[in-house]
């Protein structure tokens, strides 16, 4: 199979490309930098550039669309441009090029507001519920992608929940940075159950989605390790893997929410660098349960996670020791 992977330089992009090339698939990696990715043919360009995408997708059987603008800072226009318009471009170019399988990498946040998710199923993306530009733009993009599912080109959306692993700068990197600065605290009791996905499992789920795309087309599936953990257990496990002491500080949920509200306003109005330390969305995310029913996903994908949370933490510790 020849596959176009957009956004291949991300943690998950590298892992999935390695897995695909490892089993003999041909991969065209489209990205904005010219960093090489082992085994893939690298094409530089933005996903919003129709000519570039059109050229890259020629001759491909499948597309794995990972490229997106992530994070919590930036204007709505920026998020909309990359995530919504970019997806429209990639979907339409793929269709013109005769691609048969299209996997859109999404996020569980496209279907939910701030409520606790307890053994939840994947609801349809709903930009009316989402919080923050990222989730809203991804909801619009997923809705668009699934609406273009057809017998000629099967489209499916995979929503991996909270991907982490060795080399992860998003979740693991931030936790370690903040802990070093003494700025890490749990929202509420820290007991909220959170699903997460070890990087290898996220990659194997995306590969499974490419293989099963013809069967599961038109659907959105949440993917996780299926091992929810209290957020404090997960974070302290990541710290322990780095040889760091557990965090015991806790801030009440209301306080975190208030701090987030102030920070959001400040970052909107003042020329501040980087990301706000807290947002109302983050306060809710860190303080309420987010875990999903996985039986349905596993049955449809014919896939099982191969690395448990405990095994993942051990691999993370090994990675830190090797560094």
């Amino acid at each position: 199979m020849k596959i176009l992977v957009t956004g291949g330089t991300s943690l998950i992009g590298r892992a999935v490309i390695e897995m695909l090339t490892g089993r003999g698939d041909q991969v065209v990696a489209m990205q904005r930098s010219d960093a090489s990715i082992g085994g893939a043919h690298v094409v530089t360009g933005a996903v919003t550039d129709m000519a570039a995408v059109s050229a890259a997708v020629q001759g491909c059987d499948a597309v794995l669309h990972l490229a997106a603008k992530v994070g919590i800072v930036g204007t709505w226009e920026d998020f909309h441009h990359t995530n919504v318009e970019g997806t429209e471009v990639v979907v339409e170019c793929a269709r013109s090029a005769g691609v048969q399988r299209f996997v859109f990498v999404s996020s569980p946040s496209v279907a939910h507001g701030g409520e606790a998710l307890v053994g939840a199923v994947a609801h349809p993306a709903d930009p009316g519920l989402t919080r923050g530009h990222y989730a809203t733009s991804k909801a619009l993009a997923e809705g668009y992608a699934l609406s273009r599912h057809s017998p000629d080109m099967a489209i499916t959306a995979i929503r991996p929940h909270l991907v982490w692993g060795p080399g992860d700068t998003q979740l693991v990197g931030r936790i370690i940075d903040r802990a070093r600065q003494g700025r890490l605290a749990f929202v509420g009791s820290g007991a909220a159950l959170i699903d997460s996905t070890y990087i290898d499992n996220a990659a194997s789920a995306l590969v499974a989605a490419l293989d099963r795309c013809d069967v599961i087309g038109g659907q959105a599936l949440v993917v996780s390790n299926g091992e929810p953990r209290p957020i404090a257990d997960l974070v302290n496990g990541i710290l322990a893997a780095h040889g760091m002491p557990p965090v015991t500080r806790r801030v009440p949920k209301s306080l975190a929410f208030a701090a987030g509200w102030v920070a959001e306003r400040a970052w909107e109005r003042l020329p501040l660098d980087g990301e706000p330390p807290m947002t109302t969305f983050l306060a809710e995310q860190l303080g309420t349960a987010h875990w999903f029913e996985q039986t349905h996903t596993r049955r449809l994908l014919q896939w099982e996670p191969s690395v448990s949370i405990d095994e993942g933490l051990a691999r993370l510790a090994q990675h830190v020791a090797d560094r």
Binding site: A116, V118, S189, A191, L193, P230, D233, G287, T295
Partner: protein
């Protein structure tokens, strides 16, 4: 009185719970001309049974919406609105009870309902439905009544709500000018119905003109003989005799300030064959507060099932419950104020005979219920056996249940008599428990009259002494006792036994433990403290508060054993726990007495091996047995400590093989944790434990629906416990059905998980619960440790230890390990963890809720 406005009937607007397809308007020829009724009518082309639902005041057919929604497709259900009520015609004249009976007949005639009918009625719909049924005896197949009345019982006063509303000054204001009556009636509901449901009830009564029927309905309640409807109501009540052959069922909300339980008891007297289900805590609008629709359809279904084979045992007495007088050794020994005292069999039988005669002499009739509230000892035994001798039903309520549950139990059992120690009769007065009162012990005569005490036990015996003695054999088929369950596995329920069941239980214990007349028993376990005389052995009650098992000290147990040179000890786990803890204080002769015991039996709650091994050190020659069973049937199985140790650890608690004459089966659990309908006897299948035996209870008391659901198709008892049988036929118990964790990988039984977690040092006890949706639950372990602080998350080191123990048993990895300084346990046994409560707490904490105590 005439109404201000005549309005034609019409269809209701869209209302919550009401299917517009049900609504129709039908014109019928009434006595005063053609009238249009609104009615709900579903499955109108069904050809068999018709259910006729009759509402009261102030309501309308909306009351029956859930009953219609749940109707099987082969049964037609009609629920009309009375004229001047709901969406039926507003006529120019008020209607009386007699009119309404005629109206209902005119309507069913117009509908052409000529086949079999079951009626269900509420409030003042009750007499209307009964009046209709009495005119159609050939059609009526069943009568169901909910919170209604046909007469004012002579020993009670009319409902204050009705008397107040009827008083001339307030009648019109309350019932017609304002919607106060209907609003107030709905407010009786607990919890009050949701706003959209309240709106549904009030919808047809939006103007004073439309409320005229409510006023007239209240005015038609015949409280005095001069009232126009008095005679009709009297004749409906008298006509119940004609319906003695018709199956009947009474569904009753117990917290109804209008039709309280005195009206239920009135119906029970008038329809002695009726089945009864009390919905505890439900109010006047019982259909709003309790699942009456589900219960009703189960009743209808049960009515239609005929000729089913059942495995029920006929109660029989292989030998008398009374001991033989020939034995010279004391029968019961107790600690009195002046030291130990005892009663020999001949005097015991003498006192039993006198008490039975004396109770008869003051009016106790066979079948009367007697609440017996006496601590274990000579007097309790005498009274209990006297009840059986006299054909009375002993109501046994453990004071360990606490005042609130005792109160509930006594209201449910509704005793005709109450025999108790001064504290009990005082409580009976204060809490207004029913029953004529007899005190056990001396009491000042003034105080006696204040407390409404008629006699003392001594006076009863004196009365019986002079009466001509007739010793009748005890009838095996007569109801002998109503005992209340601990309530640790749900609300406390009355369990009805016939004398034959008690005899069978006695026989089971005697056979199981090879009890002979040479045995002497220390009875520190309430139920078995009563069985000494029936077993024909000497029994002694140690110095302790039997309602608080943990008050039994080693010295008290040893002293009692020494007094009678005991061969057997029956004690609860909590009692044994304290005995072990206080063993240091044993005097040499007490220690020696315990060493001579041949058998120790402990039941009522799970027992830890460690505790049993400590007990074994005090009584090295004793076999230590732990029977498994429940208030409904005990024993089911039995195991000795030696055998249990030989079986080794396993998934759950090994409770032994079924005892002789008892059969055990397993109903496997499905993916949602529900037991299937069919049984298996294959080994190692996890499911609900279902049992049968000659000492299985007769029924639950006034809980028809609970009884119905607790029985399998062939009448075996569903225990609610889950477990499995191993290859050698040993039964293993691993939790309760409602506590099964329904993980995506299949059902998980909590007890194996808990045992593994409890192996971790510093874990006092553990509860395994599921969080998340049924079928997709995640396993959570909650441990009780001596930690301080408010953090609900167990520290990482502890989590690691718990996970390691579970893994070594091949059990599922929990998503979280939570900690608490105290897990909630039941008050009777102080050991059964309330897992439902723990699960709610874990659910909240793990969803991100604020930390709190369980």
């Amino acid at each position: 009185m005439t109404n201000a406005a005549v309005q034609p009937g019409g269809l209701p607007p869209e209302l919550v719970g009401l299917d517009p397809k049900w609504s129709r308007l039908v014109t019928a020829r009434c006595r005063d001309g053609d009238r249009t009724f609104h009615l709900l009518d579903c499955n109108r082309h069904a050809t068999g049974l018709t259910v006729v639902c009759v509402h009261g005041n102030p309501s309308w057919s909306y009351l029956w919406r859930e009953l219609l929604a749940a109707a099987p497709s082969n049964v037609r259900v009609i629920a009309p609105d009375h004229l001047n009520m709901g969406y039926s015609d507003r006529t120019d004249a008020d209607r009386t009870l007699s009119d309404r009976i005629d109206d209902l007949g005119a309507l069913t005639d117009a509908l052409g309902i000529v086949g079999p009918v079951i009626t269900i009625a509420h409030d003042w719909g009750g007499p209307i439905s009964l009046g209709w049924a009495q005119r159609r005896i050939d059609q009526i197949r069943g009568l169901v009544l909910t919170n209604t009345a046909v007469s004012q019982p002579s020993d009670s006063t009319p409902p204050w709500l009705i008397t107040t509303a009827k008083s001339a000054r307030v009648l019109r204001t309350v019932t017609q000018r304002t919607p106060a009556f209907i609003r107030g009636a709905l407010r009786l509901s607990s919890p009050e119905p949701a706003p959209d449901i309240r709106a549904g009830f009030m919808a047809p009564y939006d103007t004073p003109e439309r409320r005229a029927g409510i006023r007239a309905f209240v005015a038609d309640v015949p409280l005095e003989p001069s009232h126009a409807s008095f005679e009709t109501l009297e004749s409906v009540a008298a006509g119940l005799d004609q319906l003695a052959e018709v199956p009947a069922c009474l569904f009753w909300g117990t917290r109804d300030p209008v039709f309280g339980e005195q009206y239920l008891h009135d119906f029970e007297r008038r329809l002695p064959h009726a089945q009864v289900h009390r919905f505890s805590g439900a109010s006047h609008f019982v259909t709003e507060d309790a699942p009456v629709a589900a219960a009703f359809w189960d009743w209808v279904e049960a009515l239609q099932e005929t000729g089913e084979t059942s495995d029920s045992y006929a109660p029989q007495l292989n030998r008398s419950l009374l001991p033989s007088a020939s034995d010279a050794s004391p029968l019961v020994v107790e600690l009195g104020e002046e030291g130990w005292r005892s009663i020999e069999p001949d005097l015991f039988l003498e006192r039993v005979g006198r008490s039975a005669e004396g109770l008869g002499a003051i009016g106790a009739k066979p079948g009367d219920r007697v609440a017996v509230m006496i601590p274990p000892g000579i007097d309790l035994t005498v009274v209990l056996y006297a009840c059986w001798q006299a054909g009375l039903v002993a109501v046994l309520v453990d004071s360990g249940l606490g005042v609130k549950n005792m109160d509930r139990a006594l209201r449910a059992a509704h005793p005709d008599w109450l025999i108790g120690i001064p504290a009990a009769v005082t409580a009976a007065k204060g809490l207004r428990w029913g029953g004529r009162r007899i005190v056990v012990g001396e009491m000042d005569s003034r105080l006696r009259s204040v407390l409404g005490i008629e006699r003392s036990l001594r006076e009863i015996e004196f009365l019986g002494e002079s009466a001509a003695r007739q010793v009748r054999p005890i009838d095996a088929d007569a109801v002998a006792a109503v005992a209340f369950t601990s309530g640790s596995t749900g609300p406390s329920k009355g369990v009805v036994y016939k004398a034959g069941h008690i005899g069978a239980q006695r026989d089971a214990i005697a056979e199981l433990y090879q009890i002979t007349e040479a045995d002497r028993l220390v009875a520190a376990f309430a139920p078995f403290a009563l069985y000494g005389p029936a077993l024909g052995v000497t029994s002694i009650v140690p110095a302790m508060d039997v309602t608080k098992p943990a008050t039994l000290t080693a010295a008290a147990l040893g002293e009692a054993a020494a007094q009678v040179d005991a061969t057997m000890i029956f004690a609860s786990p909590a009692a044994l726990q304290n005995v072990v803890a206080t063993a240091e204080s044993l005097a040499p002769h007490q220690r020696a007495a315990l060493r001579n015991v041949r058998l120790i039996m402990s039941a009522g709650a799970p027992l830890r091996l460690g505790l049993l091994q400590s007990v074994a050190r005090l009584s090295p020659s004793a076999e230590i047995h732990t029977p498994y069973g429940m208030t409904e049937i005990l024993p089911v199985a039995d195991i000795s400590l030696a055998v249990r140790l030989a079986r080794g650890p396993g998934p759950g608690v090994c409770v032994g093989r079924p005892v002789p004459n008892v059969q055990v089966r397993i109903h496997p659990l499905d993916a949602l944790g529900l037991p299937s309908e069919s049984a298996t006897d294959r080994p190692h299948i996890l499911g609900e434990v279902v049992v049968n035996g000659p000492h299985l209870k007769e029924s639950y008391d006034r809980l028809w629906w609970t009884e119905h659901r607790s029985r399998t198709a062939d009448q075996w008892h569903r225990t609610g416990d889950i477990g499995h049988l191993d290859r050698d036929g040993f039964l293993w118990i691993s939790g309760r059905v409602q506590h099964v964790i329904t993980s995506p990988d299949g059902p998980i039984a909590p007890i194996s998980i808990e045992h593994a977690a409890e192996r971790v040092k510093s874990v006092v006890r553990a509860a395994a619960v599921g969080v998340g949706p049924l079928g997709g639950q995640s396993l959570v372990v909650v441990i009780e440790t001596a930690h301080r602080g408010s953090n609900p998350l167990a520290p990482a080191a502890m989590v690691k230890l718990v996970r390691a123990e579970l893994e070594s048993d091949g059990l599922q990895n929990p998503v979280a390990v939570l900690q608490t300084p105290k897990l909630p346990v039941d008050r009777r046994h102080n050991s059964k963890v309330d897992r439902t409560k723990v699960a709610h707490w874990a659910d909240k904490i793990l969803a991100g809720g604020r930390p709190s105590r369980i």
